[in-house]
């Protein structure tokens, strides 16, 4: 492999890799704003300029592929002076309102100004100001904070496939906005906030909710469709505040859709059933379990497993059904119209899939078939993580039914008993995406109220003595 030298360290690289990526391999940070590995290279911010031996001018590391034998200095006097100068240029018109800015704490501009900038300000002229722009339900634009990196414009045209963000006017007056100030149309708008290196584009949903440094981060998988985008749930005190995509070049690259991004909120629905419920009123676990047994005792039972359950949960349900519901059939359900893996297909050109649950392909791998009817059965048990379309299923299920998992006002109708369970952010487990990639859900928060993990519910149910299950059992599968 060819080698180059960066700050005195020899680095091997693949042909075509740029200096930023090559330096990153050996832990050398080259600061940048406009560069993004998933977008085209424009070399506009000039922050990444480095000194390369035998080249008279500084070269932008983003647009310079590493060359064999190249000697690069990222912290030479000239490079440092340039970094300082760029920071000064970027900050002269930046409001420095970090204390009230949501990006503070995770802001490239803020971080790099501490690291590479000067603490002294020489600018005495009037600052450039703009009026804020409302860009629809997802994003709020504060143009004053913008540093004109144009990542958002490039994301729109190159990834989201929509030319909605544009630069208008010219030079110092350049404004990054939407065409005619219209609301954003793409279903991937949340990414605009992720890639913005300052607090110019912020998520409306997250604004003023939580300072970023309080957030704990859990790497997990999106349950929004069979793509299984890698994402990070950010939470504090058992409350999820935000989810952002994690990079996985094989699955979702750097992006995720808005539906997946905001999906965690269904588990925070105030009407979610978090106590055992019998005929619409709350009861204790033993009464609810007795009723569940009564509904299914000796009956020909259809067991509907939501494809939002993990592999581990589905296996347990199958075992449970064999043992405790001898006259039962286990099938899966999830998205109306997507009854098998063969029905699943791409919903757009980017990430979205037709199956609106994450583990359809895993359920089929475990041998389950899709079904949405209870015709010919006397009772039903429905397992759902809250993402499977229970409402659609229950239209056709006219027999007495037990619900296990996540239910809300919208989905609790038609059930004799509901045993509250855990949603995707409240459990660990494995899901299989449409390409057969196995990925792990990680628990970020505890199930709310008296909700319990599927494993625990099944254990209590199958325990014929009806003894109280240990109250201390966790939600771990």
């Amino acid at each position: 492999m060819p080698k180059c030298t960066i700050d005195g360290r020899e680095v091997e690289f693949k042909a075509g890799e740029n200096l930023i990526e090559v330096a990153r391999k050996v832990g050398i940070e080259i600061p940048y704003f406009c560069y993004h590995p998933g977008l085209s290279i424009v070399a506009q911010c000039r922050m990444c300029a480095v000194e390369i031996e035998k080249m008279p001018k500084l070269q932008t590391a983003c647009s310079t592929p590493a060359g064999d034998g190249m000697v690069v200095k990222t912290r030479s006097e000239r490079a440092k002076q340039n970094q300082k100068a760029i920071m000064e240029f970027l900050l002269i018109n930046h409001p420095l309102d970090c204390p009230v800015c949501d990006k503070a704490g995770e802001c490239d501009l803020q971080d790099f100004s501490y690291k590479y900038g000067d603490s002294y300000m020489r600018y005495m002229e009037e600052r450039r100001t703009y009026v804020d722009l409302d860009m629809g339900p997802v994003i709020k634009k504060n143009m004053n904070r913008c540093i004109h990196c144009t990542r958002c414009i490039r994301f729109g045209t190159e990834v989201a496939g929509i030319h909605e963000m544009v630069a208008v006017k010219r030079g110092n007056n350049t404004e990054i906005t939407t065409i005619d100030g219209r609301p954003l149309e793409t279903d991937y708008a949340g990414n605009y906030a992720d890639i913005c290196p300052t607090g110019s584009l912020t998520l409306k949903d997250f604004r003023f909710k939580k300072r970023s440094w309080f957030l704990k981060k859990t790497a997990t998988i999106c349950e929004g469709c069979s793509r299984g985008c890698n994402m990070e749930l950010q939470h504090e005190a058992n409350m999820v505040y935000r989810s952002i995509p994690r990079t996985n070049m094989d699955v979702n690259q750097y992006w995720m859709c808005d539906e997946g991004r905001f999906n965690y909120r269904h588990l925070q629905d105030p009407s979610r059933v978090t106590k055992p419920t019998k005929s619409g009123s709350f009861v204790d676990w033993s009464a609810a379990l007795s009723e569940a047994r009564a509904v299914t005792q000796g009956k020909k039972t259809a067991v509907f497993v939501g494809t939002d359950l993990t592999q581990e949960e589905i296996s347990m349900v199958i075992q449970f059904a064999q043992k405790s519901l001898p006259n039962s059939t286990v099938v899966h359900f999830g998205t109306p119209g997507v009854n098998s893996a063969a029905d699943d297909a791409a919903l757009d050109k980017i990430l979205k899939r037709k199956s609106k649950t994450a583990n359809l392909h895993g359920a089929e791998k475990l041998g389950l078939k899709g079904s949405n009817t209870a015709t010919g059965y006397q009772a039903a048990v429905v397992f759902s993580g809250g993402r499977s379309n229970v409402a659609a299923l229950m239209k056709d299920v006219k027999v007495p039914a037990v619900g296990v998992g996540v239910f809300t006002d919208e989905t609790k109708g038609g059930f004799s008993v509901i045993l509250p369970g855990a949603g995707f952010s409240e459990k660990d487990g494995t899901i299989v995406n449409f390409n057969g990639v196995e990925q792990k859900l990680k628990r970020a928060v505890l199930p709310p109220g008296q909700s319990k993990a599927t494993s625990e519910i099944l254990m209590m149910w199958s325990n014929q003595s009806g003894a109280q299950a240990s109250a201390t059992a966790g939600a771990r599968v």
Partner: protein, 424 residues
Amino acid sequence: MSETLYIQHFKDSSRGLDYYLKQMEGYTALKKAFKMTPDDIINEMKKSNVRGRGGAGFPTGMKWGFIPKQASKPKYLVCNADESEPGTFKDRDLMRYTPHLLIEGMVIGGFAIGAHVGYIYIRGEYTREAKLLDEAIDEAYAKGYLGKNIQGSGFDFDLTVHRGAGAYICGEETGLLNSLEGKRGEPRVKPPFPAQAGAFGGPTIVNNVETLTNVPFIINKGGDWFAKLGKLEKSGGTRLVSISGHVKKPGVYEINAGSMTIRQLIYDVAGGILDDRPLKAVIPGGSSAPVLTADEIDVIYDIEPLMKVGSMMGSAALMVVNDSYPIVRLIKRITKFYAHESCGQCTPCREGCRWMEDILHRIEHGHGKEQDLALLLDITDNIAGKTLCALGDAAAGPVASFVRKFRPDFEALIRGGRHAQVHH
């Protein structure tokens, strides 16, 4: 003056095809070129020592040689007729009076690099010239000098006039190409250079009007002949010089490259300083060229000698300033131009040019501070050589040179307020 190529034809009667054919050996070079191989033409260009007339002074023959022989995408020849550098107005006359010279030059150029489509990207303000070019192109199509199978040679070449919308940055070759493609007129990252991937992704040559109008002469009379027109080793041909400002006879003049000093140009060619006042400053190559003082004008007016004294010939636009105009106001006005014309893509130029303008504005109006001059020089250092395209250098160079060379004028305003006068 010895032999001139253009200036004798700068009259309204020379515009038509008839005049061009009869008086200027019109389209004979084209016929000669069709009998040559493209490599021969490029060699002849190299021999001629013609250097780009748009500002950078890059050897044209070498540029043409960069075009790959085999390319998966169509090649293009683009004429940069944006002529937006303040002080420059030579290309306007070339297009106005000798449009067929440009057309012939472009067909030969297209033949040499293997391009079948050419564009003339013309400055938006040149409405009249765009119309005249269109008329000349129509004439050329009618007589078979453009279009399919030109003069039975089997070579096809189509030429279109594309009007800009008045942005300085669209005179930068990659900004021009973006604008030509219908995109925002913003320069592109180089590499790839236009010769590899230019207009619509195809290998592209962008040449100035004057550069292309040189081509028929070079082909007809030979590269060596053309090179000898120039009086310096690496600079061939004649130069059209736009002289403006405080001179008695401003206008476009033609000189043999490297044959005169700036002093000769001002006093012998342009009739001396207006009102016979003392000379204060000379901007030798369009407003982006670092300024020269009255003591520095005994320099030969050509690319290399001017580089040696820290300035540049640029587009050969000589701007002469006598002592009647405040020097700080002049550099403020120049900087305002670059701040206004900065495309806004890259940080140093977008932020720095306006910053410099604001500081200069303050100084001009008597609100300057002692540390402003050091700050200005610092900002120019932080812009120059660190921007995406040459506009940053174009803005920073003049400011640095004005502050260094006319420091007393700045200091007088800073210390004495706006009414201070400097007498040398």
